[in-house]
Subunit: 242 residues, 2 copies
C-alpha cells in the first residue's frame, strides 16, 4: 500500500491509571481509514515531558503524520506544547495570533485573559494553528505532528479542522461476514482465501456471545471489484455466513 502512514499519541495519566477510557483513538482510526491514511501504530504515554519528547521524535521520524491528543489545556499538567517544541528543538512562547483568538473569546463572555488562559496561547515557533470551533483554544501542527486536545468533542472538532488539509490515498475498503462457528473451524479455508488474494488483507476477529463462539471475517483492500470477488469466494467457503 502506498497510502500515507500515520501514528497517534494519546497523552494522559488518566488513561494509563484506568480512570478514563480513551475514545479518541477509535474516532481518529475511523477518520483516517476513510481518508486513505494508514494508521500503523498508536501509543498511550503518561504526562511526562521526556516520554512525550522521545515518543514524538520516534514516531515523527517513522510515519508521514503523527496525531496527538491531550495535554494542551491551561493547568500545570498540560505540558504537551512544550514537549513538542523540545522534540523539534524550537522555542515556544505566547503567540500573538493565538492570544488574539483567546482574548476575543474571553472578552465576548466578559472574562479576563488570566495567566492560565494565556498558557493556551503558547505555540512552538513555526507551527500552524488548528482551529477549535468548540472552545477556541487552538491546536497546532508543527512539521508532521498535529497536536490536539484530549476532550473528545474538542478532539473531534480539531480532527475535522485538520484532515481536509492533508493529502489522503485510496480509501481502504472493507467487507465483513459473520460466522457462528469457532475460528478453529474456519482457519483452513480462510487461510486458503488469503493465499488466493495476496493483494487483499484477511482478518478473523473472534467473539463469544451468549456462550456461542463465532468470528467476524474482514477483507480489506482498495479495489472494490477484487474485494467483491474475495467476498464471493468466502461465501462459497462459508455458506452459513451472515
Amino acid at each position: 500500500m502506498s497510502n500515507p502512514t500515520a501514528a497517534m499519541v494519546v497523552i494522559g495519566d488518566e488513561i494509563l491509571s484506568g480512570r478514563t477510557q480513551d475514545k479518541n483513538m477509535h474516532h481518529l482510526a475511523g477518520e483516517l481509514t476513510a481518508k486513505g491514511i494508514s494508521l500503523r501504530e498508536a501509543r498511550v504515554v503518561s504526562d511526562d515531558h521526556d516520554a512525550i519528547v522521545a515518543t514524538v521524535r520516534d514516531l515523527s521520524a517513522t510515519y508521514a503524520h503523527v496525531f496527538t491528543s491531550g495535554g494542551i489545556g491551561p493547568t500545570h499538567d498540560d505540558i504537551t506544547a512544550d514537549a513538542i517544541a523540545a522534540a523539534f528543538g524550537v522555542s515556544i512562547d505566547v503567540r500573538d495570533d493565538a492570544r488574539a483568538l483567546l482574548k476575543a473569546h474571553y472578552e465576548s463572555s466578559g472574562k479576563e485573559l488570566n495567566a492560565a488562559r494565556l498558557r493556551m496561547a503558547r505555540i512552538p515557533d513555526g507551527a500552524t494553528l488548528i482551529e477549535n470551533p468548540v472552545s477556541t483554544a487552538p491546536g497546532f501542527t508543527l512539521h508532521n505532528v498535529h497536536v490536539m486536545a484530549g476532550v473528545p468533542s474538542v478532539f473531534r472538532a480539531m480532527v475535522a479542522s485538520v484532515l481536509p488539509t492533508l493529502t489522503g490515498g485510496a480509501p481502504l475498503l472493507s467487507e465483513s461476514l459473520q460466522v457462528q462457528r469457532p475460528e478453529s473451524e474456519l482457519a483452513g479455508p480462510l487461510g486458503q482465501a488469503a493465499d488466493a488474494y495476496p493483494d487483499l488483507s484477511f482478518g478473523s476477529y473472534p467473539f463469544i456471545r451468549d456462550g456461542v463462539f463465532g468470528a467476524n471475517l474482514v477483507v480489506r483492500g482498495t479495489d472494490a471489484s477484487r474485494l467483491a470477488e474475495a467476498v464471493a469466494h468466502l461465501r462459497t467457503a462459508f455458506p452459513d455466513a451472515a
Copy 2:
C-alpha cells in the same frame, strides 16, 4: 514511586482500522493500578511480525512487565506467539502440555484437534502457560512478557490467572473532586496545591457536558493520610467542588 512498572501491547489491525474499539487496555490499567503495578505506556501495533518483534523487545527491556493482547488464535493472522519467540530468539513448536489441554477440551465436545486448533498449542521454548478458563487455549509468559488473547472475556480471565503470580507494590490511591467551572479558572490554585504536595500527583481532566465546562481534579498517591490532607486543601480552594 518504586512500584513495578509495566507496558501493554495491543496487537490488531482491527483496532487501527477503527473497526473495533479496544477494551482490554482500560481493563488491564484498572487491574494493574489496584495491584500497585504502574502502567507507564501502551502501544497498539498491527498484525505485522516485525512490528510486534520490535515493540516487544523495546518494551520488555524498559519495563518490569509487558502484557500483550491479541493474535494467539487458530487463524493465519494469529502471529503473536511466533513473534514473541523471535523477539527472544527462542524456538517455538507445538508443546505437549498445551496440546494435552486442547485435546482434552475438544474430545470432551466430540471435536477433532485439527491443524488450526493445534496451532494454538504452539508455545515458545521456556514459556510458562497462562490458564484460560473460558476457552482452554492457553496464553503464556516468556521472561517478563505475558501473552494473552484479544477476545475481552478471555483476556480478562487470563489477566485474573496471571496477576496473582506477580509481585505488586503499594496500590496507587486516588481521590477526585468535580468542579463545574472551566479549567482556566482552577489552574492557579490547583498548581499551588501540586507545589505544596510534591509527593502526590495532581491531574485536571476537563469535560464539556451539555455545554457546561468543568473538570475532574484527581489526586494520586500511595499514602492515604497525605491524600486526605491534599483533598481537604483542594476543598478549601474550591468550595464549590462536588
